[in-house]
C-alpha cells in the first residue's frame, strides 16, 4: 500500500456535484420564498424558478443514477463498519487532541464510513422524500391528477419542507466538515480538479499505470 495522487472524481461527478449544488441553492431560496419565509422575489417568479430548477435537477439525477449503477460507483455508498468507530471517535474526541484524521481514501472507498452513511441516508431517505412529495405536488398543481383534499396537499407540502430543512442541515454539516482533518481548500480542490491522495495497493497501482495512466498524477 502506498499513497498516490489519483483521479477520485471524474468530470461527470464534478459537473454533477456543482450543478446539483447550484440547483439545490436555487431550490432552497425559491422554496423559502414560496413558503413566505422571505420576500426577496415575488411568488410567481419563485414558483416558476422552483419548478424549473427541480426539473433540471431531476434530469441530472436520472443521469447520475444511471451512471452510478452502470459504472459500479454505487458501491462507494454502501454502509461499512470498517473504520467507523475510529472516524466517529475522531470527530468527538481526537479532533480536539490534534490527532490526524484516521481515514485515507482508497481506490474502492473514496468516502470515509461516516460520509458514506450520510450520503446513503441522503440518497435513500431525504431525497426520495423530497422528490416524491414534490413531484406529487407538482402533478396535482398542474392538473395531472384529480385534486386531493386540502389537508392532503398541505401534508405533502409539510413533508417536502421538512425534507428541505434536512437538506439545509446536511449542507451546513457538509461545508463545516470540509474544515476538519485538513484544510478547507484541500478538501474542496478534489471536487474541482478531480485528483486527491488515495491509498493504493500495488495491484491497483499497476492496473492504473497499465490501463488508465491518465488517472495517476504522481
Amino acid at each position: 500500500m502506498a499513497l498516490h495522487k489519483i483521479q477520485v472524481f471524474r468530470i461527470f461527478e464534478r459537473v454533477w456535484h456543482w450543478s446539483q449544488a447550484l440547483l439545490i441553492f436555487t431550490l432552497l431560496f425559491t422554496g423559502f420564498a414560496i413558503r413566505d419565509l422571505h420576500r426577496l422575489i415575488d411568488f410567481q417568479t419563485a414558483v416558476n424558478l422552483h419548478t424549473l430548477a427541480a426539473l433540471l435537477l431531476l434530469a441530472i439525477w436520472i443521469f447520475a443514477t444511471f451512471w452510478l449503477f452502470t459504472t459500479g460507483q454505487w458501491r462507494h455508498f454502501l454502509p461499512t463498519r470498517k473504520n467507523f468507530v475510529p472516524v466517529a471517535r475522531f470527530y468527538i474526541h481526537g479532533i480536539f487532541k490534534g490527532e490526524h484524521h484516521p481515514y485515507t481514501k482508497t481506490y474502492r472507498r473514496k468516502h470515509n464510513p461516516l460520509q458514506a452513511l450520510t450520503y446513503l441516508l441522503l440518497k435513500t431517505v431525504i431525497f426520495p422524500a423530497i422528490w416524491i412529495s414534490g413531484l406529487l405536488y407538482l402533478a396535482i398543481s398542474l392538473g395531472l391528477f384529480d385534486t386531493i383534499p386540502a389537508p392532503g396537499v398541505g401534508l405533502l407540502a409539510d413533508i417536502h419542507t421538512i425534507a428541505a430543512f434536512a437538506v439545509l442541515v446536511f449542507i451546513i454539516l457538509h461545508v463545516y466538515l470540509l474544515t476538519t482533518g485538513g484544510s478547507f481548500v484541500d478538501h474542496v480542490r478534489p471536487m474541482i480538479t478531480g485528483y486527491d491522495e488515495a491509498d493504493l495497493t500495488d495491484e491497483e497501482y499497476a492496473y492504473l499505470k497499465q490501463d488508465e495512466p491518465g488517472k495517476i498524477q504522481d
Binding site: 411568488f43 414558483v47 398543481s141 398542474l142 398541505g154 407540502a157 409539510d158 421538512i162 451546513i172 474544515t179
Partner: protein
C-alpha cells in the same frame, strides 16, 4: 412669549371649531329639496347603437306610422305582429317582479324583498316602478294580465329619447322630477326599435339602489362607454359587447340571476350547437380557460376549479370613476334645514361628479371606489332575510342575504362580493324588517313628511303585516356578487395578492395556499433544526480552537 402662544392658539381654536362643525357646512355643498333625478340618467354618454343587419325595417311598417299618444298604444301595435311576445314577457322577472327560488323555495323578487338601500319597492311603486318594464304600476291593484301595459320601448328604443317618469306624483317637494321633459315622439321611437343595447339595460341596471352604481358596485354609468382597462369585453375600442352578448336567451327569457347564480356552468360550456343560454364566463372560455402551453397556465387552470374567474379577473370594483355606496345609515334621515329636506354633496368621485353624503330622505352615505371585494365560498344559491324572517339583533349584524358553499361540494367557487353595510329601520317589538311607505302625496309618505313612525305604520298596514308600534335601527350586511368590469389580463391579480400572509383570501377554508404561512409550525421546527445545527457546528469549531490554543501553550 405670550404673543407667540396666542398666535398658535387662535388657528388651533378655529381648527377645533370647524372640526366640531361649529363653522357650519360649506354652503355650496347643500342642495335643497328631495329630487332624485333632476338630471336624467340618459344624459350620460350614449354609446352608438350597433348597426345590425335586420330582415325588417320597422320604419316602413304601416302599424307603426301612428299617431300614438301613449305607451300602451304602441305596445298594442307591437303585439299585433309579435303575437307571442306579450305572453312570453308576461313570465319575465322584469314584468312580474317575482321569483320563486328553485333551491330554497323562497318567494323572492322586487315585489317582496327588503334591501339595504331604499329598503322596499313594495308599496312605493309610484316611484320605484320607473324601472318596471310596464306602464302605470302605482300600487297593489296593477293588472298583470293586461299585456298592453308591457313597456316594449324601454328595452327596444334605439333613439335614446325615450324616458320614464314616476308613475304617481309624490310629495310636492318631488315635483321637479316631472319638469323639463320634452314630450316623447311615440311614432319615431316605435319605428326605431332594435335589440336592446347597453343604453337600454343600463338606464335601470347602472342606477340600481337610487343612483349611479349605488347598489352593485360593478354596474355603473362608466360602462356606457368604457375604456378597455375598465371592461375588456364592453370597451368600444375592443370587443364592444352589449349586455345581451353574454346575457343570451330566447323568447324573452334570458340568462343571469343573482338569486340563483351559475357558479359552476356545466350547461353553457358545451360544444357548438349545444345550449348555451347561460351568462357564465365558461360558456365562452370553457373550464380550462388559460392556454395550455406553459406551467403557469396549467396551474391557473387548476385554480379555475377552486376560484370563480371573477376573483382574479376583477381585481377591484367601482372602477372607472364612479363610486358605489358602501355604507348607508338611515339613523340620521329626516333632518331638515330651514324646514326643508336637503342633500349634502361632500364626496367627489373619480370622474369629478359630486355625490350626496347626506339626504334628508335617506340618511348618511359612505362611498368607495376601486374597492377590493370580499371573498367567500359560494354555491350560487342566495338565501334571503325577508319581512317574515324573525332575527335576533343582539346576535350582531343581520345578513339580508346569505349563502353557503365549500371546497367539498364540487359546485362552489371562491367568489368576489361587494359587502353592503346598512343601518336600517326594523320592528323592535317583533324583530323583523319593515316595509316603509316612502313615496306618495299623503301625509304618511316619508319622502316629504320625514316621519319614520308614520311611514312604517302605513307601510306595514298596507300589506297587513304586524307592526309592534316601536321601531329601531338594525345593522345589516348584504352581499352583491361581482361579475362585471372584467379587467384586461395584465391587470388580473398577481399570485402574491393571495399567496402571502394576510393575503386577500385570508380566512378561506378548505384550500391549501402556499405562501400564506399556513403551517408555520413546520417552518419553525425546520428553522430550529437549522439553528441547532449551526449552534452545534459553532460549538464544535470553538472547542477545536480552544483545544488547539491549549496545545500550543
Amino acid at each position: 412669549m405670550r404673543i407667540k402662544s396666542l398666535t398658535l392658539l387662535v388657528p388651533l381654536l378655529v381648527l377645533l371649531a370647524s372640526s366640531l362643525g361649529l363653522a357650519g357646512e360649506p354652503e355650496e355643498n347643500i342642495e335643497y329639496g328631495v329630487s332624485e333625478y333632476a338630471t336624467t340618467f340618459q344624459d350620460k354618454t350614449l354609446k352608438e347603437h350597433h348597426k345590425r343587419p335586420s330582415t325588417a325595417d320597422h320604419a316602413e311598417f304601416e302599424a307603426l306610422k301612428g299617431p300614438f299618444s301613449s305607451g300602451p298604444e304602441v305596445t298594442k301595435a307591437c303585439l299585433g305582429c309579435h303575437n307571442k311576445a306579450g305572453e312570453q314577457f308576461a313570465r319575465n322577472k322584469h314584468w312580474t317582479w317575482e321569483y320563486k327560488h328553485p333551491v330554497t323555495g323562497q318567494q323572492l323578487g322586487k315585489k317582496t324583498l327588503i334591501n339595504g338601500f331604499c329598503t322596499n319597492a313594495r308599496g312605493n311603486e309610484g316611484m320605484c316602478a320607473q324601472c318596471h318594464a310596464g306602464y302605470g304600476w302605482k300600487g297593489e291593484r296593477f293588472d298583470f294580465t293586461a299585456l298592453e301595459n308591457i313597456d316594449c320601448l324601454v328595452c327596444h328604443d334605439s333613439t335614446g329619447s325615450y324616458y320614464k317618469t314616476p308613475n304617481s306624483e309624490g310629495h310636492e317637494a318631488c315635483s321637479i322630477m316631472f319638469e323639463d321633459k320634452p314630450p316623447i315622439e311615440w311614432a319615431q321611437v316605435a319605428q326605431s326599435v332594435t335589440l336592446p343595447s347597453r343604453n337600454n339595460c343600463g338606464k335601470c341596471h347602472f342606477f340600481g339602489g337610487g343612483g349611479d352604481n349605488v347598489k352593485h358596485g360593478d354596474l355603473s354609468s362608466a360602462l356606457f362607454n368604457p375604456p378597455k382597462s375598465l371592461d375588456v369585453h364592453m370597451a368600444a375600442d375592443g370587443l364592444d359587447f352589449d349586455c345581451i352578448t353574454c346575457h343570451v336567451g330566447e323568447g324573452h327569457q334570458w340568462a343571469g340571476s343573482r338569486y340563483q347564480m351559475t357558479v359552476f356552468d356545466e350547461k353553457g360550456a358545451g360544444k357548438p350547437g349545444m345550449p348555451r343560454d347561460t351568462a357564465s364566463c365558461a360558456s365562452c372560455h370553457g373550464h380550462k380557460p388559460h392556454p395550455r402551453d406553459n406551467v403557469t397556465s396549467l396551474r391557473l387552470n387548476r385554480h379555475a376549479e377552486t376560484l370563480a374567474c371573477e376573483t382574479c379577473h376583477i381585481p377591484e370594483f367601482a372602477r372607472g370613476g364612479v363610486a358605489t355606496v358602501t355604507r348607508w345609515d338611515w339613523r340620521g334621515a329626516g333632518k331638515l334645514k330651514n324646514g326643508e329636506g336637503y342633500k349634502l354633496k361632500e364626496y367627489t368621485q373619480g370622474d369629478g361628479e359630486h355625490r350626496a353624503t347626506y339626504k334628508s330622505i335617506k340618511g348618511d352615505f359612505q362611498y368607495g371606489e376601486n374597492l377590493q371585494p370580499h371573498y367567500a365560498w359560494f354555491d350560487g344559491a342566495m338565501r334571503f332575510t325577508t319581512q317574515e324572517t324573525v332575527f335576533d339583533p343582539s346576535q350582531g349584524p343581520v345578513e339580508l342575504n346569505s349563502f353557503r358553499g365549500g371546497a367539498d361540494d364540487g359546485n362552489s367557487r371562491i367568489y368576489p362580493f361587494k359587502r353592503m353595510h346598512t343601518f336600517q329601520p326594523y320592528d323592535k317589538g317583533n324583530n323583523t324588517l319593515v316595509y316603509m311607505h316612502l313615496w306618495g302625496k299623503d301625509e304618511n309618505a316619508f319622502w316629504g313628511n320625514y316621519d319614520l313612525q308614520k311611514a312604517i305604520t302605513a307601510g306595514m298596514a298596507e300589506f297587513d303585516k304586524p307592526y309592534s308600534g316601536e321601531y329601531g335601527f338594525v345593522e345589516t350586511y348584504s352581499y352583491w356578487p361581482i361579475n362585471h368590469m372584467v379587467a384586461p389580463r395584465e391587470q388580473a391579480l398577481a399570485c402574491d395578492e393571495c399567496h402571502a400572509e394576510q393575503g386577500r383570501l385570508q380566512g378561506i377554508e378548505g384550500v391549501y395556499m402556499p405562501g400564506t404561512g399556513a403551517s408555520r409550525m413546520i417552518d419553525r421546527m425546520g428553522l430550529l433544526m437549522v439553528f441547532a445545527t449551526l449552534l452545534g457546528v459553532l460549538a464544535h469549531a470553538l472547542l477545536r480552537l480552544v483545544s488547539s490554543r491549549r496545545r500550543a501553550h
